[in-house]
């Protein structure tokens, strides 16, 4: 187990190098100068410009800049945003709960719908249920997020008026952030209707963000279920006289879940990538929206730090998924 952990963690090192190098280089490949953008349309005095470039270290060769950046990162310093002058880490931590809240709700939606639907499609293979589930999930998988989001906004927010268009909560409510999670904070605030408002703001973004993971989970569950249903132990379970609910829901599902959990883990990366678009569409004040704004401002430290932190989160989630296998698959737990 310890060896397993050590190898998994050792594998994070090349990923770390890759992520930092890639973001560092990519950002600088985008045309545009952060200091000129900061100065705005009025322009900037050349002396002041040179001074600021020295201050941010942009006058040094790229390799030196990268080296300095890595040294800082290893010391836990992600730098300060050029625009807001606040530490990148602080900004990230302030905004991250919003993204977690959205991603979690999207994932819960994807799992709660995707798993049962995939099971039904697998068990009722070849029926109208199977075909419609597979057809709809393929459509969902192929749908561009931004377009899907706009469609839902037009239908539910604009035409039907059921849900708000954007934001995390109605402007009618104001309270201090305690946990950063709007659902919890709104409950803690004790203001009537605040929680309802928070939930209604979450519905559409969660559906939009959860659609692709939902499609992937449904398809994976179906194929995994199909495979498992042919196994000898499923026949044994039926030969024991167990009711079908138990045969499918316990004996088959437990085995079918193993590959599905892998896929759910991999979807976390997809989810955070999708969050960038979803947050932009719904003006959701999370990491995605912040990263997009940082790109527009060429806020190098914010982008570098933000992407690195997102990458670390994805890596940690994947690591915990690996550890989770042991819980559902005893054959891994006991392998020495």
């Amino acid at each position: 187990m310890i060896r397993f952990l050590v190898t998994k963690i050792a594998l994070l090192i090349p990923t770390f190098v890759g992520v930092t190098l890639l973001t560092f280089a990519m950002i600088r490949l985008i045309p545009g100068d952060p200091i000129l953008l900061l100065a705005g349309e009025r322009g900037i005095d050349p002396d002041r410009y040179a001074e600021l470039r020295t201050q941010y270290g942009f006058d040094k060769p790229l390799l030196i800049q990268y080296g300095n950046y890595i040294v800082d990162v290893l010391q836990g310093d992600l730098g300060r945003s050029i625009v807001t002058k606040k530490p990148v880490l602080t900004e990230f931590l302030t905004l991250f709960p919003a993204t977690i809240e959205l991603s979690l709700c999207a994932m819960i939606f994807a799992v709660l719908v995707g798993l049962p639907v995939g099971i039904i499609a697998g068990v009722r293979r070849g029926t109208i249920w199977d075909h419609s589930v597979m057809g709809v999930s393929l459509t969902g998988y192929s749908m561009p997020i931004f377009w899907w989001g706009l469609l839902l906004i037009i239908l539910f927010s604009v035409n039907l008026g059921w849900t708000p268009v954007s934001g995390r909560i109605s402007l009618l409510y104001y309270f201090d952030s305690v946990t950063g999670f709007m659902l919890i904070d709104s409950l803690l605030s004790g203001q009537e209707g605040a929680f309802r408002s928070a939930v209604s703001h979450l519905i559409l973004p969660s559906i939009v963000l959860g659609t692709i993971p939902l499609a992937v989970i449904a398809r994976m569950t179906r194929s995994s279920m199909l495979e498992v249903l042919n196994e000898d132990y499923v026949r044994t379970a039926r030969a024991k006289g167990l009711p079908p609910v138990r045969v499918i829901g316990l004996h088959a599902l437990r085995n079918a879940l193993i590959p599905v959990v892998t896929v759910i883990g991999l979807q976390v990366g997809v989810l955070l990538a999708g969050a960038i678009l979803t947050e932009t569409i719904f003006s959701w004040p999370g990491i995605g929206k912040w990263l997009i704004e940082s790109v527009h401002r060429r806020d190098y430290p914010a982008l570098q730090g933000g992407i690195l932190l997102v990458a670390i989160v994805v890596m940690l989630v994947n690591l915990s998924v690996d550890l989770l296998y042991g819980l559902i698959n005893p054959r891994i737990r006991h392998r020495r």
Binding site: D232, T236, R238, A239, K240, P243, R254, P330, R331, H334
Partner: protein, 343 residues
Amino acid sequence: MAALVEIRNLSVEFQTARGSFRAVDGIDLTIEAGEVVGIVGESGSGKSVSMLALMGLIVWPGKVQADRLTFDGHDLLAMTPAQRRRIIGKDIAMVFQEPITSLNPCFTVGFQIMETLAVHEGGSRADRRRRTVELLGQVGIPAPESRLSSFPHQLSGGMNQRVMIAMAIACNPRLLIADEPTTALDVTIQAQILDLLVNLQQDRGMALTLITHDMGVVAETAERVIVMYAGQQVEEQPVDALFANPAHPYTAALLDALPERSAGRRRLATIPGVVPGIEDRPRGCLFHPRCRFAEQRCVDEQPLLVPDARGRFVRCHYALVDGEPTNKEPGSIRGEPQRETTP
């Protein structure tokens, strides 16, 4: 008194892309309480499928039809699935061929046995646990208490098969179906498992149906033998009579292939060809392409499973007596086939 199991004209068909395939074709079978019946045949002869049909374990695209399918006088075909599940796993239990894949890898063996008890007998958790330890002991698993929390992959094939047997006998079944229970095990373990099955059968007075392709296993255990070929029953006889005087040429050929019966010959006897599949099912007697004694009549006319002159049930126009075909009409078109056997 009614027989424990009565099967009349049981057929199992599988719908495939190329049309339907009859895996079991009109089986008649009666099993009396406490009796050991052997079902013998090559792979693909329909022996497992017919017993799976009795258990109600044939799934889509398989289709089961029968004139009569009863257990202890109750019509299994008329039952709802829920009623049938009350019998399956309790009164009729089955042990499968591959012990390791037949147990669920995600659950402990203790859980899997206790689950059967919970579904059929209820009782308290402690009761079930005590019963399970008892059962594991009865099937010869050492230190049964400590094995409860083992997973199937931590046990050997033989141990897993013992667990399967413990699971099958948990609710004191009146019929135990063992589907090639020793095929996946090595030879020394095979003998132990067979002994275990026979001892359990005698101690508990349950009926035992042993599906096998091994004539030697049948000789040691069964009282009555049913020989199947390509989904049909071709012969049914008490074991001693069958070994002494097989009536169907297929049975005779199977017996000839036993090493014990080939003393003095340099090579083991074999049966040329393979069991016909979905594409190449012959007309007439299904065995005629491989039969040494086949006549034109065997090609034209399918024989029925009827008693021959000696009262033996056999599906052959020319049932063998002492290795020689009987009822041969003079002037048959094919004439007397070449034979190299010595009397």
